[in-house]
Symmetry: C2
Subunit: 253 residues, 2 copies
DNA sequence: GATTAGAATAGGTTAGACCATTAGGGGGCG
DNA sequence: CGCCCCCTAATGGTCTAACCTATTCTAATC
């Protein structure tokens, strides 16, 4: 039983998918920039010579991918979104939840990714990275409120991943960070608990961040990595006992 | 300037999105398993009391997320797909390409993630991991053809990430691996080049994998990690000069 | 019994209508 | 004169009713 040269299941492309694909390609290639407006549905109908439901299916596809958002009313329509990590976060959230990943799992993965990010930052762009991190640290110091502080600290981690100079590491690291944050938001909304971030521990954390910045600024790659390993371990001990570390991640509404 | 309790732009949910959300939730929660068939469009119309275009928009959303696939004709309809990493791969591919990530970027990120995966495998489940890896190594040894061998080696890396016992690390590591593989497939199809994997280097790689398995089996976590760091570095030197290491990742069509 | 033509099923696409929401302009009132 | 409200136009959201097309099953025919 040989496959004939013509074998292989052929996939008949649907009009809506083709349409969505064209727009997606234009967005990824940068031909359509964030903020640009797509033509109105009526215009698209005449441009592409397809019916309205077909157009709308294409729009739903792109919307579900987070590439456009649609608003109603006069001057409404589909606008191109800035390409964010949202899609990666959503996809990772689904994959992690369906496999039963726990907060501890994700924290361990982050502990694997972030210290090398600190090393790369110190190696490749110490000055810029230190400046960006210091700016975020200032925000943390002046901010009020437990939730706002927690968000600012999360942002510090994101800045570190951004400034490491490796796009791939940044994308996956931030996706994990975002999944955790999403889970926390939903879990807090459900349980209305309060975060018990003691002041003493917070100050210790900020001092540790300050030290990281100094090591990066000095170009001490090995030192920055080692310090951040220690930081993540220490912070993880505190944080994971605060949350139910074994609870399965939940990113559903 | 305080936000009033009523501030914040409200999001009017669209019927199709609500519908898609319900099905998505059921799939993620495991209430709908892979292979299950959704009711026919006609049935959904009567079940949910919405019109066909709306149903179809919901179906397009879920299809674009890779959660279902639809076939035409008698006995056709929407079937639930197995939850794979495809969504994460696609999303990561888009994010990486739009940010101009290079193959080298991604390789570096993989070099960050895989050695700790080897360490975790040796720490947490040496016997199972060694068995699974050895099985894959056998496949590599008996396989013929350059492309098939390259695919088998890629699979070895995936098995390692699966067997490390950390779901989050596995998900993001495999996503990066998959993005690279997707790019290579498209690039090969476009250029019809041939892979020049010399036999000598291939055999060296397989011996290195064998050594990793032995270290993991012995529970030598530090040794496994260190060995895999060296392996990734050595393999990277060869591989990155074979491909255009600075070429920007491309995952379009 | 194998082949093939038709019937049944179910998704793919189109057309047209009407409803709901929003921005902006014009008229009335202070 | 200026402010507010309502009206209107633009645009997406939803529905109904068809017809087309692909796929499978069945039954008639050779």
């Amino acid at each position: 039983m040989f496959d004939s040269p013509m074998s292989g299941s052929i996939r008949i492309p649907k009009t809506a998918e083709v349409l969505a694909g064209r727009v997606r390609k234009a967005i990824i290639r940068g031909e359509l920039k964030a903020g640009d407006k797509l033509p109105s549905e009526a215009q698209l109908i005449t441009d592409f010579e397809v019916s309205r439901p077909t157009i709308r299916e294409a729009i739903r596809i792109l919307e579900s991918e987070g590439m456009i958002s649609v608003s109603r009313g006069a001057r409404g329509g589909a606008k191109v979104n800035a390409l964010t990590n949202d899609m990666v976060t959503k996809a990772a959230g689904v994959a992690l939840q369906s496999r039963g990943a726990t907060l501890k799992d994700i924290y361990i993965a982050r502990s694997v990714i972030e210290p090398p990010a600190a090393r790369l930052a110190a190696e490749n762009r110490p000055a810029e990275a230190a400046a960006a991190l210091r700016k975020q640290l200032e925000i943390e110091r002046t901010i009020g409120g437990q939730h706002a502080l927690a968000a600012a600290i999360a942002e510090f981690h994101r800045v570190l991943l951004d400034e490491c100079g490796n796009i791939a590491l940044g994308v996956v690291g931030k996706a994990l960070q975002d999944v955790v944050e999403l889970h926390m938001q939903l879990s807090l909304r459900a349980n209305a608990r309060t975060l018990d971030t003691s002041d003493r521990r917070t100050r210790f954390g900020l001092r540790s961040q300050e030290k990281l910045i100094e090591l990066i600024e000095a170009g001490d790659a090995a030192g920055a990595e080692a310090h951040w390993v220690a930081h993540m371990e220490a912070a993880g001990k505190v944080w994971l006992e605060g949350v139910e570390s074994t609870s399965i991640i939940d990113v559903l509404d």
